[in-house]
Symmetry: C2
Subunit: 241 residues, 2 copies
């Protein structure tokens, strides 16, 4: 995706996983992060595949299926990493099932265009978040997160289809702009809930004693950066947000 | 899967695709076959992903997602091959949309166990069919079909879960045995419809002038072999069929 901002700054390494994971708080935080990302990918797989039912034709169905399949591959990478570091992947994912299922339940698309916008926005927000979070991770976890991130961006086809639909009927733009706002609002709401409930993960984000840091204000700034990028992206799509 | 039968016989090559495709009837038959397999994989992806909603836990959901993702990869291979030989993949798949959607509509699982049995049976029937059909193809098409086939068989986890459910409540066995019969019946019914409607494909199966052959009786025998294998498989699963 386009947004270069913070993660492209040169970042100093905080060392390899083996060294950092000796700190139980750091370990717990990274497990939380990987668990949240893993279940996020699995639930994205499921919902994209489900939304493929709205596809107007075979080519469109195949495009969503391709995205869903990529999400599954990401899930597999994250899942295998959790197992590799001796965690129980299912137990680690468990706390994130409800917030992610809530998000998807609150944002179930009612037609093909809403599904496309959700696929595009979801993919893009995930990329932004991966980019933000990568900079504060040990080398091994960061490599994994960047590897998963480099394989996102399959949603490009959605942009063209949405633009075309708005060109054909400008009223569609108003409806989808509202929809984009709702997607972002629900995403932030569930993310904030997770930050509030998961101590270890929050510590990673706000910077505990052992973690290079930023504070709660910085978490707010991160959410703001992601929201700003989302707003620009919606505008580029022809949707005022 | 286990059934060694016909495809493991040494088969003489009928030559490469480039030589055989000069015969328009052969070309049309192979395009039909690849189109049917491709849409079969895409619709299997979609239905497996949808049936993941019944999964009782994260591990089970991930297992179905893995199968669905493998089906998508197969779809991609078949789709790319169609494009490579100059066909329009969407147009080639079109005639098979209705029979496959009919099959899935008539066999929508109503719970997790029915979904598991369908995943297992569908995977196994696909493998049997790939094996049967591979022997009468040019070298290049056969290599593709065998490559796709070699990556099936992800449904092993289903066997264990179904056996366990029957052990816990033997009445489940009776219900699932009926379900297995219905799956096979619908599969045969749609397959026979396709054979009746698609001249080129039927010619490949029954052996036209240019194609090494077997006749309509042989088509019946092929369906019988697949049915027999299915019956043995159901019995192994603890389901009289």
């Amino acid at each position: 995706m386009e947004t270069p901002e913070p993660a492209d700054e040169p970042t100093d390494s905080i060392g390899p996983w083996a060294a950092r994971a000796a700190d139980p708080q750091y370990r717990a935080a990274v497990l939380d992060l990987l668990g949240a990302l893993a279940y996020g990918e699995l639930s994205a797989f499921e919902r994209l595949a489900e939304d493929a039912k709205f596809a107007p034709g075979i080519a469109e169905k195949a495009a969503l299926a391709r995205m869903a399949s990529a999400e599954y591959q990401h899930f597999q990478l994250l899942h295998d990493r959790l197992a590799e570091v001796g965690a129980d992947p299912v137990a680690v994912m468990e706390p994130f099932v409800e917030p992610l299922e809530n998000f998807h339940r609150m944002t179930a698309p009612s037609d093909w265009l809403e599904g496309l916008v959700k696929a595009y926005v979801g993919d893009a927000i995930a990329t932004d978040f991966y980019r933000e979070v990568a900079v504060r991770l040990d080398d091994d976890t960061r490599d994994l997160v960047l590897r998963v991130m480099s394989d996102t961006g399959h949603a490009g086809f959605a942009v063209e289809r949405v633009r075309q639909a708005i060109a054909e009927d400008p009223r569609v733009g108003g409806r989808l702009a509202l929809w984009g706002r709702r997607l972002m609002g629900e995403a932030l709401s569930q993310a904030q809930r997770v930050v509030a409930e998961r101590d270890a993960l929050s510590n990673l984000l706000v910077g505990g004693a052992e973690v290079r840091g930023f504070d709660l204000v910085e978490v707010g700034k991160m959410f703001n950066r992601i929201t700003e990028t989302h707003t620009k992206r919606m505008a580029a799509l022809g949707l005022a947000s």
